[in-house]
Amino acid sequence: MMAPTWIAGGGVICGIGQHVQACVQAFQRMQPGMAPLQFLRSAHTAFPVVEVKAANDHLAQLSGLPLSTARTAMLSLIAAREAWTSSGLDEVRDYRTAFVSANTVGGMDKTEDFFPAFLQDQGKGRLHGVSQHECGTITEVVADALGISHHITTISTACSSGANALMYGARLIHNNLADVVIAGGADALTRFTLNGFNTLMILDTAPSRPFDDSRRGLNLGEGAGYVVLVSDAVAKDRKGLWATLSGFANANDAYHQTASSPDGTGNYLAMQGALHMAGLQPADIRYINLHGTGTQNNDLSEGLAIARLFGNTPPPASSTKSFTGHTLGASGGIEAVFAALSVRDGLLYPNAQFTTQMKELPFSPITTFSAGNDLRHVMSNSFGFGGNCSCLVFSKGGS
């Protein structure tokens, strides 16, 4: 078996809080972040969204980046910095430090602003606007600000991107190519994604109701979330480690470009694979942080796959997207932080807006917050377009 990879810290910025502690408080106080559009300019004002409650100038201040920086990069740096600080590690340059970040649309917010003038006349539009278009550019803005150059890369597999970044980071450590990896994802809300999800007719005009029989779709959110992964050698003698990343798997549903297979084949294979790597049985899992987007299709496929793997009485499960909205490329990173924190502090997160159990499923999500539970092993699911299904398992370290 692999030597464990440790979670030494984490950072989150999203629509329910600009740091981890604020997010936990929002769960505790049962305060989901859905609100009308406030910062993004779009024609689609009917859909509630979960924006980070800060304009770009505020984020520029918080991150220390120029105001012209893509919003995703600012969110990314804020969360990555919090993750690093919380880990208590010294300087980036003291280790072979890697930065593995995920996002789905790079600096699309700037490209959107560039395009109207460009479409009028291809010689027009300020080029600076498209200089951050590539997903990799976002990662580099942050890596450069943190002083990381040993190894950097960017992953983009739609809504499972952030989870895949953690897997790749753990494997860099396992293959002795890095000692410390900041891994996760970031995505700002953009008109491109808001309009895109609108064409798919899976945006709810009310706050989303994941795993509820009356669910009608998702709410888009934005944010960033990163963990600091460290090797067994770096972890040795360190106090305050959160958890280990004990298992992970990525499988493909190979069913449809956007829809999940009715029985959740890919979801099942990913969860099964992660358990297998961790050397665990389904009964060992004490909490599942669901992908739980709130769409008809996802929740049914995911739910059936869970029932198939865990039987009729699965462990407590909830979708934190009922608070944060679906943050796309960031979600795997944000929810990894929540899951690792679950292990550390015994946190069970509530599923907001829940009233009615899905008739196809033998279980419903938990709806109240609690802390201090003994959660030895916690699972986090992330599924994306292209049939991309990922699952992470976090465990208490030590014996």
């Binding site: 597999t157 739609a158 494997r171 990525n250």
Partner: protein, 354 residues
């Protein structure tokens, strides 16, 4: 651990998809935008689907199928792609309609296909492949990241044969924008003479190159992939020299052991200076091949370079038009490829006979 290149497939501005060792006859261009030579995609994809697919999806699926056919397998144990730009055409279509139609009456197809992992997902869908599927989108390291992921995966023993590729497309919009950044020559002349020009700019290219990489050799094995190294924003040329020395040493080689160099020369006077310094300092007089006068410059062009290198090792010949300097050695055991993209993303790829 050796990594075996058990199949290769390329769809490129050269006729690389017609069953020749390299290409039947070299294609010369006089524009600064090279376009892939489309093979008959119907041999791999249903006509209904072809109509819906953008060029980058088609070239990706095609190159993937070519490499699987060569390797004699139908379903790999994982699919890993690298693309800097992703599905630019679908992104552009959706963006344009969003702006022109003021966010009204949009249709989902372009949005659905704009996702960066569309090609990897489509290949999985067509092959019915439920295994590991990942997509790297890190500029000039996209293909190298995919290779590194594959090498780790094979070392971990979880997979026997992986499908790995790099691809990018040029679109009308992207070319217009990148041209404004001053990346391309306005009077490029003949692409065959590109590397003899010593002025500003290069020519834009595109393409898809896929490989079946395995943990064991098969009757189809073409060559071995010994290692990949990326160097991000080196402070100066000395950093590349140092990285090269360490990289060779890690593989138990000296500069003298390298039989052929492949460089990413692209005809831009500033870009090429890095290659000049590198070859002069490390490998004086060493035979050198190049490839960007054949495929153009793009962030995943090293995929084409690796396709060339693997086939050079397999066939023990170098197409005359690919040689930049020196004479082709009688026996080619070790090929070292050095590439950089926009002077910020540098990589070394070592290929060997098996």
């Amino acid at each position: 651990m050796k990594i075996y290149i058990n199949g290769t497939g390329a769809i490129s501005p050269q006729q690389t998809a017609v069953g020749a060792a390299f290409w039947p006859a070299v294609q010369d261009y006089t524009t600064n935008r090279l376009k892939v030579v489309d093979p008959d995609y119907k041999q791999w994809i249903d006509l209904k689907q072809i109509r819906r697919m953008s060029r980058v999806i088609k070239m990706g699926v095609g190159a993937a199928q070519l490499s699987l056919q060569q390797a004699g397998i139908s379903v790999p144990d994982g699919i890993i792609t690298g693309t800097a730009y992703g599905c630019l055409d679908d992104t552009g279509v959706f963006l344009q309609k969003m702006v022109v139609q003021e966010e009204q009456m949009l249709t989902p197809t372009a949005f659905i296909q704009s996702t960066h992992n569309t090609v990897g997902g489509q290949i999985a869908l067509l092959l019915g492949c439920h295994a590991y599927n990942n997509t790297f989108v890190h500029r000039g390291f996209s293909f190298e990241s995919a290779l590194l992921d594959a090498i780790m995966f094979l070392r971990e023993g979880e997979a026997r044969q992986l499908l790995v590729g790099g691809l990018d497309e040029i679109t009308h919009f992207s070319h217009a924008i990148l041209q404004r950044f001053g990346l391309y020559k306005t009077n490029p002349g003949h692409s065959g003479s590109l590397l003899q020009l010593h002025n500003k700019g290069t020519i834009a290219g595109e393409g898809a190159a896929f490989f079946v990489l395995g943990a064991a050799s098969t009757p189809h094995t073409k060559a071995c992939l010994a290692g990949v190294q990326t160097i991000y924003k080196p402070t100066d040329n000395a950093a590349i020299q140092q990285a090269t020395t360490l990289f060779l040493a890690a593989h138990g080689l000296l500069a003298a052991d390298i039989d052929l160099l492949i460089t990413g020369r692209n005809g831009d006077v500033d870009d090429d200076q890095w290659y000049n310094t590198w070859t002069t300092a490390h490998f004086p007089g060493k035979p050198e091949a190049a490839f960007k006068h054949l495929c153009g410059e793009y962030p995943t062009a090293t995929g084409f370079g690796m396709w060339l290198g693997a086939n050079v090792l397999a066939h023990q010949q170098v197409p005359a038009e690919a040689m930049y300097s020196g004479t082709v050695p009688a026996k080619i055991n070790n090929i070292l490829m050095y590439n950089h993209h926009l002077t910020t993303h540098h990589s070394l790829i070592l290929m060997q006979v098996c």
